[in-house]
Symmetry: C2
Subunit: 571 residues, 2 copies
């Protein structure tokens, strides 16, 4: 079965779960009327179904390769990419001033999820460019904006993020790439960067590298890092790709999945670069880009989960095996209780993750449109949850998708395995999910937990309102919000390492409480007898209870971990 | 870091957790003295470390291929296999009468785990042969035993299981392969079988297929199925491989992992076969083989988990990244709380799964040695738990192993991804884990839950005894056993489909209770301050609490699942 864009689910969530109208009634997003956003979803859905999904398997079977120093992308990718670019999809949320559509991130997030489901490795190219566009919008000079943004927004050029070095991954501050002033306002950037997705592309006429490097007077650690624009081809006086810069792709990685996305080792040899933002403030600039990129990566996980789910449900509705417990017993395996359980789990987790990602996006939009600090804090809090829970859901659901297929799931031609192999990296890149959880309990609780408490109150208030129509479900969700509040209180009272010890289970417990909240909102909107209510009941009664164990784990602290020495672990 | 055989952990579990002495003091296993079993573990460990582990990656990079109708195995596999065969490892638990070592399954299970960790795809060959040896020992005529067993036990020949057909996977009874009597006591077997692991082998001089097929007068369904020995080469009068039988490998599958193990589509065209056991009693014979093969597959999962764990802990002790919260902060990532949490989770789950598999094996041995029905029932009950929890642990731990490696985990050269890709199938073959769970709540509770209740009492009794030394842990384990008992009571009172709806979470909850029990036994044996006690505390305080949610899920029944129609699932 080919991918089918879940347009109506997005519309439902926009209307009843995350309140897109609150976003589109702001001045900033006044143009994004319901008609516009519907048209966007439908057009994007068509692109995903008809253009991107058909090349998904090509990327896996025929990985991007390095030939004579440049990347040759997978068959069909370039043609599909041109349609993405021509449709204006790279610049969906970019400033209208430079050719973007100026759409809310909420809408872009829905489109990104569909594109991720259709072809994750291809989608990563525009996703990274979107991140770069945003970084430049916030931090570049007007001159740099004028030069780069139109080309990035049109999709002619692509953007990359060059952070990681062999000994500087999570610890970006340990990087050793250097930038020396050339005396003419430009810089000579030298160093090696690894894990650079789409570090070169034959689908784009230029590749623009945002590179973190240290100036001669830069301090050690993250405070001494600056950000540079280092294009593959230096733009000429007309803004077209000119002479080649002194940088190259050294090699491409051989990866577990995502074969269609070339992952490059990049070498910069005194490459000409331009400072983005202020000297030594590179991390701040990169963080702007990274926060929304984290949401984007979370959504990659959800897309892969949706794709894997659709394939599994299609298989289950087609495959006959053993007498079923329904009707005359001649049905397909979808009628077996355990298969139904797996499919319901997949669908319920996808809905929860999707609603969280869109709620996060709506807060980003509202923060931008209103300047309100509470929206800003809510967005910042939801970002690591959206990233980690979205990508974990991608992994769990795609692995369950394999299971639904039985033996066929292990056969590559089926396509089920590719979802798992592709999505596995999303829990790692853009900050591992462990780092997301640590961000949640540390940086995102520098407010003493205020934003988290507001969110647990939001859940409780909605649950109170639901008591009339769905009392049992409302009670469970209310209880989960209480547990979230108590665990958050515990968290903010601890030393940092005790928080870190329980950060990952805390994040998942938080996500389950949020997921249950959004399921309940959907159920309330639909009424007691609909399928969304049945799905909400499934999630709240069968998945949400896990939050107790997760929060208990979260509150155990660090001591028990260090009772096991490294030597004990090896023994 | 190369694989290091965890010999001392097996010895500890033998001595303090599963009581191997109870097995070896029976007449049947009197030869298996402590000296003998120690020597076996040490020798097997050497074989795994020095011979098998070095070819692990070869199997992945250079899959077995079909050339001119025969399989060419991965480089180095044949040489490694010859050493397995020459060491007598194929016949570890086989009858001494035909050349086997006659060792307890408990010891064989430990060896199988080590071999699985070292090279899963190669280990699958002797594992299947072991299953065939057992089936022949139980069901073959003396003549067939005399002909086949010595060659299988020596490892000259390998054995396969031919059950699955394109439309008969879980529902074996739907198979369409036929057997016609030739009039000379032999049969002509015709049909196509899929997913036949090691369906051909250049490491063995003959491949012996056990094939399920239906005789002309065989009833529909599983009751009309008979089992046949169908060798690739028909043994000549001297018992050596003679003329080629009319069977062939049609193709090999392109799989997510386990590339070193050829997975064949087999075509039998009136191939000459010999009946094994009685006519129409093929399923019973196959089940003998399958039960212990299920334990063997569970142990494959544990082996892969151990291998993945060892690689992850080695990486974590080597990799420096960010200031650590320990000492001067200059340590490696093993000192970060979240990394320590992941490694402890991996180690604790491996221990739990390992103890369960060895407890299951000990019950098999005791049942065989004593004929006692309680041991038999305990073994039968533990088998699906050992299979499903062992393989789920394989998947979860190997995925966590990737995570510990960060970006390097997604790069194939690292080796972490191979563990996940290889082990993924173990949750599917030999009966999917869903089928294991259904077996647990249906067939294994035809005694009204008696065996399960005995097991929960066993846990409670041990927990009571532990109250003196480790009261807090003892209380938690005791409580989990109570919940297990209550949920089992609920299960046996339900209709079958309500049981099936919660079978998978019930099985995992059962496994966590058992795992906690074995951790507690280890802690009691070691005393309050040792690393095993710290690991037990980790498992009991941070992983065991999940049992509440699992048992709650298990008790939800089927109705809520069927409230979601297939159409709802697709929408």
């Amino acid at each position: 079965m080919p991918y089918r864009a879940p347009v109506s689910d997005f519309q439902f969530i926009f209307d009843h779960v995350v309140d897109l109208e609150q976003v589109t009634k702001t001045d900033l997003f006044a143009e994004a009327s319901r008609d516009v956003t519907d048209a966007i979803l439908i057009e994007a859905g068509k692109l995903c179904e008809e253009v991107m999904a058909p090349v998904q398997r090509n990327g896996d079977l025929h990985p991007a390769v390095l030939e004579n120093g440049v990347v040759r992308s997978s068959p069909g990718f370039s043609e599909a990419y041109q349609q993405i670019a021509e449709g204006g999809w790279v610049g969906m949320s970019a400033d209208v001033e430079h050719g973007g559509m100026g759409l809310p991130i909420t809408v872009t997030t829905a489109v990104n999820e569909m594109m991720s489901a259709a072809c994750l490795s291809l989608q990563l190219n525009p996703l990274l460019t979107m991140g770069q566009i945003e970084a430049l919008e916030h931090h570049a000079s007007d001159e740099m904006k004028a030069l780069y943004l139109p080309k990035l927004i049109s999709g002619e050029w692509n953007g990359t993020m060059n952070l990681t070095e062999p000994h500087a991954g999570t610890d970006v501050g340990a990087l050793s790439s250097k930038a020396e002033p050339n005396g003419d306002g430009t810089y000579a950037v030298t160093g090696q960067k690894i894990f650079i997705s789409w570090g070169d592309s034959d689908m784009n006429t230029n590749t623009c590298h945002l590179v973190l490097a240290r100036l001669p007077d830069g301090a050690a650690g993250t405070r001494g890092i600056s950000l540079f624009m280092v294009p593959k081809f230096i733009p000429d006086e007309n803004g077209n790709p000119g002479v080649a810069n002194t940088l190259k792709v050294v090699s491409l990685e051989h990866k577990m999945g995502l074969h269609g996305s070339p992952t490059a080792v990049m070498q910069f040899d005194g490459a000409k670069g331009w400072l983005v933002g202020e000297e030594h403030k590179g991390m701040a600039a990169m963080f702007t880009m990274m926060n929304n990129a984290r949401l984007g990566v979370g959504v990659q996980g959800i897309g892969a989960a949706e794709g894997a789910y659709q394939q599994a449900v299609s298989y289950a509705m087609d495959r006959k095996q053993s007498k079923t417990p329904v009707g005359d017993g001649a049905g397909t395996i979808v009628d077996h209780a355990d298969v139904r359980r797996m499919l319901a789990t997949m669908k319920a987790e996808v809905f929860a993750a999707r609603a969280i990602s869109l709620a996060c996006a709506a807060s980003i939009d509202l923060a931008r449109a209103t300047g309100d600090a509470d929206h800003q804090a809510r967005a910042a809090l939801l970002t690591p949850i959206a990233k980690a829970y979205g990508t974990d859901t991608g992994i769990n659901v795609s692995s369950m998708g394999i299971q639904v297929h039985g033996g066929m799931g292990f056969i590559e031609e089926t396509g089920a395995a590719q979802y798992l192999r592709d999505v596995r990296v999303t829990a790692i890149y853009e900050g591992t999910n462990g780092i997301q959880a640590m961000d949640l309990v540390a940086r995102k609780m520098m407010d003493g937990g205020e934003a988290a408490f507001r969110l647990s109150e939001e859940i409780e208030t909605a649950a109170e309102a639901a008591r009339g129509s769905l009392p049992e479900l409302a009670e469970d969700v209310w209880g989960a919000a209480e547990d979230l509040r108590e665990t958050t209180e515990w968290m903010v009272a601890q030393d940092m390492n005790d928080r870190f010890a329980g950060a990952v289970p805390y994040l998942r417990g938080f996500a389950l409480a949020l997921g249950a909240h959004f399921h309940l909102k959907a159920a309330v909107a639909e009424g007691a007898d609909g399928p969304r209510t049945a799905l909400a009941r499934f999630f709240i009664k069968r998945i949400l209870p896990e939050h107790n164990a997760l929060f208990a784990h979260a509150r155990e602290g660090a001591e028990g971990l260090y009772a096991l020495s490294p030597e004990d672990l090896v023994a």
